[in-house]
């Protein structure tokens, strides 16, 4: 076994492509540099190529073209069992005919680790995932959350330099999912491995990741930290997929500003055509009359379609007409407009809080 060096867990994907038969590219020119010890999430809807990318890293899927390097070494020609990745599957994939201890010992046995050492490391890793005393159980005697913790233990017991996680939480109910999210985060901090995490759940991606790569249609739309992606989504797809948005598909005006169905707004940066204007819900304020709107603010009339009081905040669903809808998140005691479903309000925001995003990243 190799001891992971400081750079041992670095994964470089260069122009990775995958095509089945003569079909379209499922993964289209994916280039990504994942630092050693980083928690990177591949986020995207189903069919966006994120799982195929993970499977190519794991070696389960052949690469059509492009390169995969681990710690500077080309691993594309290696079969999966020689790549030394830990992998956690959505359905746990525990061996049903083996006990918890036998499951966890499996990768060590395959590596011909001495018996005493196996026993020691199994006990150690069971403690790490808080399952001490469960070694004799069979997988079907455990709850879903426990099974996934066994799967985590099995995937890290042989000290791989990288842990690949394929939607590991999507089979669990919400409450369990949250506690396992914390567990995964803690494991990442304690083990200092590179985590490559695949999910379609944006909340999961935002709360766990150091960086997120947003996949759409086989390509990476944008890579960045969760905060960066939220503030500067860059493309319409990312804005819609990560968090909620009020999205206006107007056009930049010549000489500055932005226009959407007769509304003329101030805009700091002059953008080329083909850009939408996005305002995040928490940046939006609501007013009952034009007089209440601050001088410099951009504004748009809207109809309230729904009101949801949620304790820490209240959510207001809005319809701007012209097929555009959105929402505002207000403090629970927000005053100003009288809010009732069906009522008219004026939504406004500071021009500094809006961002422009491209409609199609390929143009």
């Amino acid at each position: 076994m190799t001891t992971p060096t400081s750079d041992g867990g670095r994964i470089e994907l260069t122009s990775l492509c995958k095509r089945y038969g003569s079909g379209p590219l499922v993964v289209d020119d994916v280039t990504l540099d994942i630092a050693s010890g980083e928690f990177l999430t591949l986020l995207g809807p189903s069919g966006s190529g994120k799982t195929t990318t993970l499977n190519m890293i794991a070696g389960f899927t052949d690469v059509t073209s492009g390169g995969i390097r681990l710690g500077g070494r080309d691993i594309a020609p290696l079969p999966p069992h020689k790549r030394n990745f830990g992998m956690v599957f959505q359905n746990y994939a525990l061996f049903p005919h083996m006990t918890v201890a036998q499951n966890i010992a499996f990768p060590l046995r395959e590596r011909r680790v001495p018996k005493a050492e196996i026993a020691r490391r199994v006990a150690e890793v069971l403690e790490l995932v808080d399952l001490t005393g469960m070694d004799g159980r069979r997988p079907d005697e455990l709850s879903g959350g426990q099974q996934q913790r066994v799967a985590l233990a099995r995937a890290v017991v042989f000290s791989p330099s990288v842990l690949l996680l394929d939607e590991p939480l999507s089979a669990l109910d919400r409450k369990l999912r949250q506690s396992l999210q914390q567990e995964i985060k803690r494991l990442h901090q304690e083990l200092k491995l590179t985590f490559v995490f695949v999910t379609h759940d944006q909340d999961e991606a935002m709360s766990l990741s150091d960086r997120i790569a947003v996949f759409n249609d086989g390509r990476i739309e944008k890579v960045g930290t969760p905060a960066d992606l939220y503030r500067n989504p860059g493309t319409r797809f990312v804005a819609r997929f990560l968090g909620e948005s009020n999205l206006f598909d107007g056009s930049p005006r010549p000489g500055g500003g932005y226009e959407w169905h007769g509304c003329k707004w101030a805009a700091d940066d002059s953008a080329p055509p083909g850009h939408d204007l996005v305002v995040r819900p928490e940046r939006l304020r609501l007013a009952g009359t034009p007089g209440e709107v601050p001088e410099r603010a951009n504004r748009v009339p809207a109809t309230v379609t729904g009101l949801y009081f949620q304790g820490t905040h209240q959510r207001v669903e809005l319809d701007y007409g012209h097929g555009s809808t959105g929402s505002a998140v207000l403090p629970p005691d927000a005053t100003g407009a009288e809010l009732r479903p069906g009522g008219g309000v004026i939504a406004y925001w500071d021009p500094g809080h809006q961002v422009l995003v491209t409609r199609d990243p390929r143009t």
């Binding site: 992998m87 599957f89 395959e110």
Partner: protein
């Protein structure tokens, strides 16, 4: 098949009182079958058992002669051997076939099932006569064997011919249980095995094969038990010198009218059969059932 419970399904709460009456009436539905079974199976079986101990005279004489007359024991041994060979050959042929069926697409799988089942749908006699034609002296099989240099091998009338035909006839009983178990094995377990450092072959040996064993045991015990009682095939393709137990029992009852002796043979075969079933039951024990349940639960997750 063992009852399978999925992990995902919550336990059904016990039905309240309204269901009670329906429940009480439930066993009545079993009555017709129970009456038929008792009349046509249990009573005759008891009569055979009784005969085997009392005809021609009370005692263990019939059983003693089973093991002492030299002839019966040889026939028994031959029957067990043929059944064993048919079972082993069947497993060897059916395992890769059933495995390929789990990998094949919808259409290919339908074709594969049909190919296995066609002999099953064909009349027993037609099938055996077809084998007679194929295996007769100067027939197709002999010709083919001649091509690979085996020359003049006489097949018809030998135990080999019987075993070959029985293997083919019994193949569906081997393939179908294997397929149904293999189909439930989650293939992602194989990926998991590889991700943990085991080669494809090692993963197959340590993960897939153990999980497929219940299917092998079910198919093998079914084929073994059926092979023990085969009558038409050995009668047509074999010879009196290579009789199997079913033929000897037939001769005893219909020609020699030795009901006690035939009964003793039948009872002995029944004991062997039950022993085989018990052994296969042990192999497909609780662990295996859990495996199948897991495989199904895994599919439901998606």
């Amino acid at each position: 098949m063992p009852a399978i419970t999925t992990a995902a399904a919550p336990e059904a709460p016990p039905s309240p009182a309204p269901g009670g009456r329906r429940r009480a009436a439930g066993p009545l539905l079993l009555l017709p079958a129970l009456v038929a079974l008792t009349l046509f199976f249990v009573l005759p079986l008891l009569s055979i058992l009784l005969d085997s101990f009392t005809d021609p005279e009370p005692g263990l004489g019939n059983y003693a002669s089973l093991f002492t007359d030299g002839y019966t024991l040889r026939v028994l041994g031959r029957t067990l051997l043929v059944a064993l060979v048919v079972t082993v050959a069947g497993v060897t042929l059916a395992y890769p076939y059933a495995y390929m069926m789990t990998l094949a697409g919808q259409t290919a799988r339908a074709v594969m099932i049909t190919v296995v089942l066609v002999p099953f749908w064909t009349s027993m006699l037609a099938r055996n006569f077809a084998w007679m034609v194929l295996m007769q002296d100067g027939g197709v099989v002999q010709g083919l064997l001649g091509l690979v240099g085996l020359g003049e091998v006489t097949l018809l009338g030998t135990t080999t011919a019987v075993a070959i035909s029985m293997t083919q006839v019994l193949l569906p009983f081997m393939v179908l249980p294997m397929f149904s178990v293999m189909q439930q094995i989650d293939r992602r377990l194989l990926l998991a095995g590889q991700s943990l450092g085991a080669s494809r072959l090692a993963t197959f040996r340590k993960v897939y094969f153990p999980l497929s064993l219940p299917g092998v045991a079910a198919g093998a015990s079914l084929v073994f038990v059926l092979a023990l009682g085969f009558y038409v095939t050995p009668a047509l393709l074999g010879s009196p010198q290579s009789s199997l137990i079913a033929q000897v029992i037939s001769v005893r009852t219909r020609e020699l009218l030795d009901f006690g002796g035939a009964g003793a043979m039948g009872v002995f075969m029944l004991v062997v059969t039950l022993a085989v079933l018990a052994a296969s039951r042990r192999l497909t024990g609780p662990g295996a059932a859990a495996g199948a349940a897991h495989a199904i639960a895994g599919r439901n997750d998606r």
